[in-house]
């Protein structure tokens, strides 16, 4: 870990200013991990934990929730409103990491956690994300956990979050305070960038830009599920995960909000898949068609090829689950 200057942020303005040459630190469960390996080496750490405005979960006028960036994964999963109206989010959070980690991990930090690619983590290895231009060690290497969708020839990393997948399905937005002081709201989908030629750029945030909150829209009709497939029964990242909010009206699917984890460099949402489902009556053939659309451009790289058939099976099972016995 390189030496750094530690700055305890006293307020949003102070923090964003200080972080122009550094990184925010929230729970630290990802940043400290990577700093110890010098995969990340900020010159300054801006500790945002004392900024009260970033705490708390509040109801919004529109019937949704405004989740402060510092709300811990634990508190978010436990929130009675989330458990009742957005259970997919509770479920996703509870399937992630461990109770110890969730107690520290924050909403903002979770969204911005970095890939678990083994080559990204090892400084002796080439990695375009860590060291642009050095090549991608994983492409022809050990890549069981990496992406099959949204990749580029330069990077096949996955985004490891569970929480973000559920938020994506729920149509969440992020509230950002730019270093300039300007506040913006972005759909979560627009926060993330695909690797393309610049895998080192993962989000639209510039240094000093702070995530202040995540906004959940009002709850919608439908059943919710988060299904995570992994290598251990617990304490393992998703190989494939599906977050779904599905409603059936009069025998036809009226809503199918779907997002996927473990498949892509960002929590993955494909509106074409949803469009293919909505208005149709549930059937295995329909679900297969949805999977076809989802996986049309999927490409494996050896170890991770199994994710393609696995994603199909999991998607179909989730859709079958959420549509059988649903209100006709």
């Amino acid at each position: 870990m390189r030496p750094f200057d530690y700055h305890r942020g006293t307020g949003i303005e102070d923090a964003t200013r200080a972080a122009a040459q550094g990184s925010f630190i929230a729970g630290g469960t990802n940043l400290i991990d990577l700093m110890k390996l010098e995969v990340m080496a900020p010159e300054r750490l801006v500790d945002i934990n004392r900024i009260e405005e970033l705490r708390g979960i509040e109801a919004t006028d529109g019937g949704g929730l405004r989740i402060g960036a510092l709300v811990s994964n634990t508190d978010l999963a436990n929130d009675p409103r989330v458990r009742r109206h957005w259970p997919v989010l509770s479920r996703a959070l509870l399937s992630g990491a461990t109770q110890q980690l969730r107690n520290k991990a924050t909403t903002g930090g979770n969204l911005l956690q970095r890939t678990r690619c083994l080559y990204f983590y090892d400084r002796a290895m080439p990695c375009n994300k860590r060291a642009p231009g050095t090549g991608c060690g994983a492409m022809e290497g050990v890549n069981r956990i990496l992406a099959v969708l949204g990749t580029s020839e330069h990077c096949i990393a996955t985004h490891p979050s569970d929480m973000a997948v559920a938020m994506m399905a729920l149509g969440a937005e992020v509230e950002i305070v730019r270093a300039s002081g300007a506040t913006e709201r972005l759909p979560l989908d627009d926060l993330y960038l695909l690797p393309g030629d610049t895998p080192e750029r993962e989000t639209v945030l510039a240094p000093g830009d702070l995530i202040a909150a995540v906004i959940l829209p009002a709850p919608v009709e439908g059943r919710q599920a988060y299904r995570k497939v992994r290598d251990r029964a617990s304490y393992a990242f998703a190989l494939v995960s599906v977050a779904a909010v599905v409603a059936v009206e009069e025998g036809r699917i009226s809503r199918a909000d779907l997002a996927f984890g473990g498949l892509a460099p960002k929590p993955w949402r494909n509106r074409d898949v949803e469009a293919a489902l909505v208005g149709q009556s549930p059937s295995e053939a329909l679900f297969d068609r949805a999977a076809d659309i989802l996986l049309e451009d999927a490409r494996g790289h050896g170890d991770n090829e199994f994710k393609i058939p696995l994603a199909r099976r999991v998607l179909k099972a989730v859709l079958a689950d959420l549509t059988t016995g649903a209100a006709a």
């Binding site: 030496p3 530690y6 991990d33 110890k36 399937s95 109770q99 304490y235």
Partner: protein
Amino acid sequence: MQTSLTINGTARELDLDPRTSLLDALRHHLGLTGTKKGCDHGQCGACTALVNGRRVNACLSLLCMHDGDEVTTIEGLGQPGALSPMQQAFVEKDGFQCGYCTPGQICSATAMLEEIAQGWPSHVTEDLEAQPELTIEEISERMSGNLCRCSAYPNIVDAIRKAAGETA
């Protein structure tokens, strides 16, 4: 970096390199080696300690971020001759072998009973809104953040059930 905090009920003042993790502060600077280092990267749970009553991985935390916090380590839960019910149950049920993961397991288990009492759900909780029960499945899931390579898991589960019965 000047940091003031309370550890096992005692106020402490430390002035350390800001890079010092909470775990290394305990082990290298405070002589509290009960909190173990198994991986230093949040992957094993050996460093589990309680911060403001919540269990966390002390390795993924910087001491300087804990100014004003209250930290409880295994040494604060009980001592030889005055074991906590959880510690006693671990001895009786052989909830360990080499003992290296054990302080983390016990800190974790102690916090876990409180979490269940407060109604926190887990990944295996069927009904997110109901009071979770202390089933084997719930215990196993909630204790999965503490690896034990000696693999005392079945005995750890038994110890926790025993301790829960006694403290209930």
